[in-house]
């Protein structure tokens, strides 16, 4: 007969933030991808240090669409924070609404992002400056697309019978955490892409 010292039957089967295993996964992912962004920014400033003028033989990117994206991003935090709170309250009806709202916000931002590419005022293969600007915008867009897809899948899932499980509310909260990262990183990248050339 083994020596039992504790019964775990009464422990909960899900919890938020650092008590959740996948929260650490999201955090690790943010660390890795954040390092990728940091390297891209470092490459941008390295190239800037090699040139007599910046941007070299090109106009600065037009401000309009990048700023539209920034404003939409910041506004999207309203439904995103609301969604996170609904997930923590385990309120399925509000979570469904919140996920739809964040999905729509992300889709709108993606449209504005498409216009950004058209108004960078430089081709990606024109020179090193063009390459790094396109690279920075592209890697952020890839993250945007993955989060939009992830949110859409979660929205579909929460509308099935699986949505009532507690674990799914943790998934939703962690999806909101990842969206914070997308928004936060864009504030930084927006300054690099649109304002550093105007210094």
């Amino acid at each position: 007969m083994p020596r039992f010292v504790q019964d775990v039957r009464a422990l909960p089967d899900h919890a938020f933030d650092s008590r959740s295993l996948t929260w650490w996964g999201v955090l690790g992912y943010i660390a890795v991808e954040g390092a990728g962004f940091a390297l891209a920014i470092a490459a941008y400033f390295f190239l800037r240090g090699q040139e007599m003028q910046w941007p070299p033989s090109a106009l600065s990117p037009s401000l309009l669409w990048g700023t539209v994206t920034l404003v939409l991003m910041l506004l999207s935090e309203i439904p995103n924070i609301w969604l996170d709170r609904a997930a923590r309250a385990e309120d399925l009806r509000r979570v469904r609404l919140g996920l739809i709202a964040v999905s729509i916000a992300a889709a709108l931002i993606l449209v504005s992002r498409a216009f950004e590419f058209a108004h960078l005022n430089i081709a990606w293969d024109r020179n090193a400056y063009g390459s790094i600007v396109w690279a920075i915008l592209l890697i952020h867009t890839v993250h945007l697309i993955t989060d939009l897809y992830e949110t859409l899948v979660l929205t579909a899932l929460m509308h099935t019978r699986h949505g009532e499980k507690g674990r799914r509310f943790v998934d939703t909260s962690e999806d909101a955490l990842y969206w914070h990262f997308i928004v936060g990183s864009w504030v930084l990248l927006y300054i690099v892409i649109y304002w550093v050339p105007r210094l």
Partner: protein, 259 residues
């Protein structure tokens, strides 16, 4: 491990003398075999009873130690000297008049002895897998948890999850404490708090699924395709996304958290 030789030859005066010589080959094999291969053979011997339930033969093992020790030094020590005397690396032969014949012959003899000792090791492992002495659960009286379960361990490792209260949990007078209360019907594991490691949650383990394998395969196809066209990254992402979604999606008929 072998790269540690680079720390030494990063010194320019030393590198001028030793660059591309047999000394470099000799030294990185000393570091690599002494630092990684010997511990690897030791580790296989140590855990062999855990993953097969049988011991490797001790007399053969002793022969193994002696032969590999002699063979290893006989091979690589003279190589240092040959390198210092001007033997270049990356050549299959050398002029007779360089006077390196003796040292190279000793190295060759050592290499055969070393190879023989490794063959002995492989033979010992193969024979012991079938006919070795049956090992008790904790054959070394080791303090760590893997020796608390039978050898070879069942798929679930422990019938009841042990509570670890020291760095040497098996060196104790009383019986190993365990916890109870995990479901036998669904795949549950215990999560603990981050700092104090107190039981905190019953987390659901994923069920076995083919999806990760499919995801890895289609990802490979996408990456190989990207050698030929960058657009492979775009269309290659679609099957990866599908596979990952199937992986994440709750499986029908699988018990999940019913709270």
């Amino acid at each position: 491990m072998g790269g540690l030789t680079g720390v030494m030859v990063a010194s320019v005066p030393l590198d001028l003398q030793l660059h591309d010589s047999y000394f470099v080959v000799a030294h990185f094999h000393y570091v690599l075999i002494g630092g990684a291969v010997f511990p690897l053979l030791g580790a296989v011997t140590y855990w062999f009873p855990k993953f097969t339930g049988r011991m490797m033969a001790e007399p053969l093992g002793k022969w193994n130690v002696v032969l590999s020790f002699i063979g290893f030094h006989l091979t690589f020590f003279p190589m240092h000297l040959a390198g210092l005397l001007g033997m270049p690396r990356r050549v299959y032969t050398y002029p007779q008049e360089m006077g390196l014949d003796g040292l190279n012959l000793v190295s060759s003899i050592g290499a055969f002895i070393f190879a023989a000792s490794l063959l002995l090791f492989v033979g010992n492992a193969l024979l012991s897998m079938r006919g070795g002495r049956v090992a008790p659960g904790n054959v070394w009286e080791a303090p760590t948890l893997e020796w608390a379960t039978v050898s070879p361990p069942p798929q679930y490792n422990f019938a009841h999850i042990p509570v670890v209260d020291s760095r040497t949990p098996l060196w104790r007078e009383d019986e190993l404490p365990v916890i109870s209360g995990l479901s036998a019907e669904k795949r549950e594991v215990v999560l603990t708090t981050v700092i104090d490691a107190m039981p905190d949650l019953r987390d659901i383990s994923p069920v076995p699924t083919i999806s990760p394998l499919i995801a890895a395969a289609v990802l490979t196809v996408g990456f190989i395709g990207s050698i030929f066209t960058p657009w492979a990254v775009v269309w290659g992402a679609i099957p990866v996304a599908i596979a990952l979604t199937l992986w994440f999606w709750p499986k029908p008929g699988v018990k999940e958290d019913e709270s």
